[in-house]
């Protein structure tokens, strides 16, 4: 016998750590078989012997185990570091419905980990069935699965529980009876920080658009059922993509291509996939009623009972169970409320109303602008308002930061893990694509899907962080060149009026223009393709502007740049007022003046719009550019900043940003 076995001794504590990153994490059928902590034969929980790992569910591994007496169970490990509440599971513990996977018990092991002891289903899950029917399942089988699932979920809804994680991996067929699993737990999936990407990745294909806003009504289960029905009929989910962000964006904006479905499935799927939850079916029962019943097969009916109360209902002692549904409902409501920060919402609503009134007002654009200027002057002339406003803003900013730190609100954690599209300031976690798979054509949807009316915005969001970074660096380099060239032009223009500036003044202007250009480009790149909250963005831009002002002062100080204040330019326009002495010394602006100027300039304008690839023209000669220069002039006048430096810098930034950032010609844009 010549079996040579090469044995490599492990180095110290090193063990086999296998990276699963290379596998395509998105395809549910290709979920990597990550490792299981407990191997066959171990007894993590008294009374049960683990035989093998089954899979990875909401919080951790699921094992197949046998009790000492021989009862087969599934053990679901809930790690203690996932700080979750078990109230939801407890509520589901005594649910009885033939289409729901039974929960037997919740136990704790010696390490403090919690285990859920569940019914073990020997049959495969729907994901396996789908894998063997790549072009869609037969109608009867589809209906069998659908009605069984719908009956189980209707029972959950009846008890006030939202499943939240309806997906093929959670649906099982046990001797012909469809079983819905993973309920009660999944409710908390989106709240857990650490369940992280792999968890949400598998689920994101079935995630309703309103989940991005932290809404978890039963409509999300109806939406998921619609996706499920579509997938069973066609073999693929309606919204596919290569990154979480791309799929989420499609859920938010793209319309599912239901034209390949026959009636009545087309209408049912279309209604279930409505973006507005209010337009979907009112209940699962209503949705199921719109579909035909499956013809009975030899494997028996997939669903037992019906949409009504489960058979267990009759045995329930009405006095013993004081409607725990209400409790769960209340929790859902709380989730709604916590999701949005109340002050911000109030301010935003107010602003929106004001904006609507502003837009509806029968005024020409110059008139509106004049009103704005007058309003600004009134504000400024009441100088005591300004520090108050700044203080308010800073306090609010601090409050927001503390709030984010202290309050692990579902929405904030949600967006962290799921890459919610509304929260664009945060970098979205996306699985890295293999190198070499790089797109050469910008802003063209990667896959030519049959539903080719992909949204332009979607195409932009799908870009991976790596692509964005590459593009940003390119833009920044180009912006630098443009800014230098524009500064030369500005110097030439200004030399006609004020005489040729000093070399150090030119250097200061070039530096400020370049930095300003970058200061616009970098946040804009983060926000690209998303509709964020303008107020929040303005605030961030103001902070950026303050930073830029500080740099401006320091460099001016360092280069000993002389920016003489020409007093005559503004005195006629404005009522005479004196800025505090901390602003100016001998007519020279100090740190405060720089901060105020650049902060206001960046707060006033929506700079990121100038970097939006979907802007109307590449270089807006007659709108964005003049407005920018005008705004800068007003700001400089109000803060008594030496003219014409601020408008020159602002104009340079505007031109550099618009010329150097990518722009898609309207003809090449996918139709929205």
């Amino acid at each position: 016998m010549h079996e040579q076995v090469t044995t490599v001794e492990p180095n110290g504590n090193e063990s086999l750590e296998f990276s699963v990153d290379e596998l395509d994490e998105l395809a549910p059928s290709k979920r990597p078989t990550a490792r299981f902590v407990h191997s066959g034969g171990s007894r993590p929980l008294d009374g049960y012997t683990v035989k093998r790992g089954v899979g990875h569910g909401g919080f951790g591994e699921i094992y197949y185990a046998v009790s000492d007496a021989g009862k087969e169970v599934a053990l679901k490990l809930i790690r203690r570091n996932l700080d979750i509440e078990l109230r939801g599971i407890r509520h589901c513990l005594n649910l009885k419905h033939p289409n729901l996977l039974s929960l037997y018990d919740i136990r704790q092991d010696d390490q403090g980990d919690t285990w859920v002891v569940m019914e073990y289903v020997s049959g495969g899950c729907l994901a396996d069935v789908l894998a063997s029917h790549p072009d869609g399942m037969p109608i009867d089988e589809t209906l069998r699965w659908f009605h069984g699932t719908a009956a189980g979920i209707a029972c959950l809804h009846d008890r006030g529980i939202v499943h939240r994680d309806v997906k093929p991996g959670n649906l099982f067929c046990d001797e012909g009876v469809i079983k819905v699993g993973d309920y009660g737990l999944s409710k908390f999936v989106s709240c857990s920080h650490r369940s992280g990407q792999t968890e949400s990745v598998g689920t994101v294909h079935y995630m309703a658009p309103e989940v991005a806003n932290g809404r978890y009504g039963k409509e999300i289960d109806i939406y998921a059922l619609g996706i499920l029905l579509y997938e069973m009929l066609t073999g693929h989910v309606p919204f596919e993509g290569e990154s979480v962000g791309e799929i989420l964006m499609k859920h938010l904006t793209a319309k599912a291509d239901v034209s390949i479905l026959d009636q009545p499935y087309r209408n049912v799927v279309a209604k279930a996939l409505e973006k507005d939850p209010a337009n979907r079916f009112d209940s699962v029962a209503q949705m199921a009623a719109a579909l035909p019943q499956p013809r009975s097969t030899d494997s028996g009916p997939g669903f037992v009972g019906g949409m009504g109360p489960s058979p267990g209902e009759g045995f329930r002692n009405p006095g013993a169970d004081p409607a725990p549904e209400d409790f769960v409902e209340a929790e859902t409501v709380e989730v709604h409320a916590v999701d949005e920060e109340p002050i911000e919402r109030a301010v935003r609503d107010g602003c929106r109303k004001l904006q609507a009134a502003w837009d509806d007002a029968d005024l020409s654009t110059p008139a509106k602008f004049a009103i704005l200027v007058v309003g600004a002057i009134v504000l400024i002339s009441n100088a005591w308002l300004m520090p108050l406003a700044v203080m308010l803003l800073v306090t609010y900013g601090l409050y927001r930061i503390v709030r984010i730190l202290v309050l692990p609100s579902p929405s904030s954690s949600n967006s962290g893990t799921n890459g919610s599209a509304t929260d664009a300031g945060r970098p979205q976690p996306m699985p890295s694509r293999p190198p070499g798979h790089r797109k050469t054509q910008p802003y063209v949807a990667r896959k030519a899907t049959p539903a080719s009316n992909e949204k332009a915005q979607v195409a932009m969001v799908v870009r991976s962080p790596r692509d964005r970074l590459a593009e940003l660096i390119g833009s920044m380099l180009a912006g630098t060149v443009v800014a230098i060239a524009m500064c030369v032009v500005m110097v030439l223009v200004s030399s006609f009026y004020n005489g040729t500036p000093q070399p150090e003044q030119c250097a200061w202007m070039v530096l400020m223009s370049i930095l300003g250009t970058w200061a616009v480009m970098i946040p804009s790149k983060f926000w690209e393709g998303t509709r964020g909250e303008p107020m929040l963005r303005r605030f961030i831009m103001m902070v950026v502007g303050l930073g830029l002002g500080a740099i401006g002062f320091l460099t001016a100080d360092l280069l000993m740049v002389d920016l003489p204040y020409v007093a005559h330019s503004s005195r006629e326009l404005l009522p005479d007022y004196q800025l505090p002495p901390s602003f100016y010394a001998d007519g020279r602006p100090l740190m405060m003046a720089y901060l105020a100027c650049f902060g206001t300039l960046f707060l006033l304008l929506r700079w990121w719009k100038q970097a939006n690839p979907m802007r109307r023209t590449r270089l807006s000669m007659f709108w964005a550019l003049p407005v920018t220069i005008l705004a800068a002039t007003v700001v400089a006048t109000v803060w008594h900043f030496p003219q014409p430096w601020l408008p020159m810098v602002a104009g340079t930034i505007a031109v550099a940003v618009q010329l150097a950032t990518p722009w898609v010609h309207p003809r090449l844009r996918p139709r929205a």
Binding site: T6, L23, T33, G40, G41, R52, V54
Partner: protein, 213 residues
């Protein structure tokens, strides 16, 4: 036959994480029947069948079934013996039905799957009558189809001992680069295993559990 009859047995459970549990019988002859005390049944089926119901025998490359009680192969009653081929359906007694498949052309190992709702003792997802090797992998002609695995893993017998190696199209390359962890020991590409081993590799893990005769 009495309780103390000595029969060669070589049975173990193959627990494949995320895939299933399989009863592996290594002997050339396996007895199918209901598990009652003292019966030497290799494949115990919890069904309305006799404690010694049928015998499946491997003869070189082929298989035959010997009926002790009523046995049907593809709806045809078996008088005494019948040859078994890939895709046959075997029925035992009233309603225990299973399929007989030989998925891999190069291996004489066959797989029995319950078609009726009966279960074996211990409960399994399939029964493997292992000849020389047992192939686990992503392709449909593996004995145990593991859809998510990156490559094949082969359990094979050499003499009385069991070995495990990784396999696939470019076998030598895979063997040189893939590490297997067998009972905590790292091995390159292949290693000797016992009937109680835990095996782990890139993207998969499985364990064996010896069953008492």
């Amino acid at each position: 036959m009495d309780c103390h009859e000595a029969r060669p047995t070589d049975k173990f459970m193959l627990w494949v994480d995320a895939v299933g549990g399989f009863l592996v019988c290594g002997t050339d002859e396996v007895m199918l029947g209901q598990p009652v005390r003292c019966s030497a049944v290799d494949i115990p089926i919890l069904g309305d069948i006799s404690s010694r119901h049928a015998l499946i025998r491997r003869d070189g490359e082929g298989y035959m079934i010997e009926a002790i009680r009523e046995v049907w192969v593809d709806e045809r009653a078996v008088d005494r013996t019948a040859l078994l081929g890939d895709g046959n359906h075997i029925s035992l007694g009233r309603g225990v039905r299973m399929s007989f498949r030989r998925p891999h052309a190069l291996s004489a190992t066959v797989r029995l799957d319950m078609l009726s709702r009966h279960r074996t003792e211990p409960p399994t997802d399939g029964i493997l009558l292992m000849a020389d090797s047992c192939i686990l992998g992503p392709s449909p002609n593996c004995h145990v189809v593991c859809r998510d695995w990156p490559h094949e893993v082969i359990l094979y017998r050499h003499g009385e001992e069991l070995f495990c190696r990784v396999g696939g199209p470019n076998r030598t390359e895979i063997q040189n680069t893939h590490l297997l962890e067998i009972d905590g020991q790292l091995c390159k590409g292949k290693g000797r295993i016992t009937r109680n081993s835990h095996i782990r590799g890139k993207g998969f893990s499985l364990s064996l559990e010896e069953l008492a005769p």
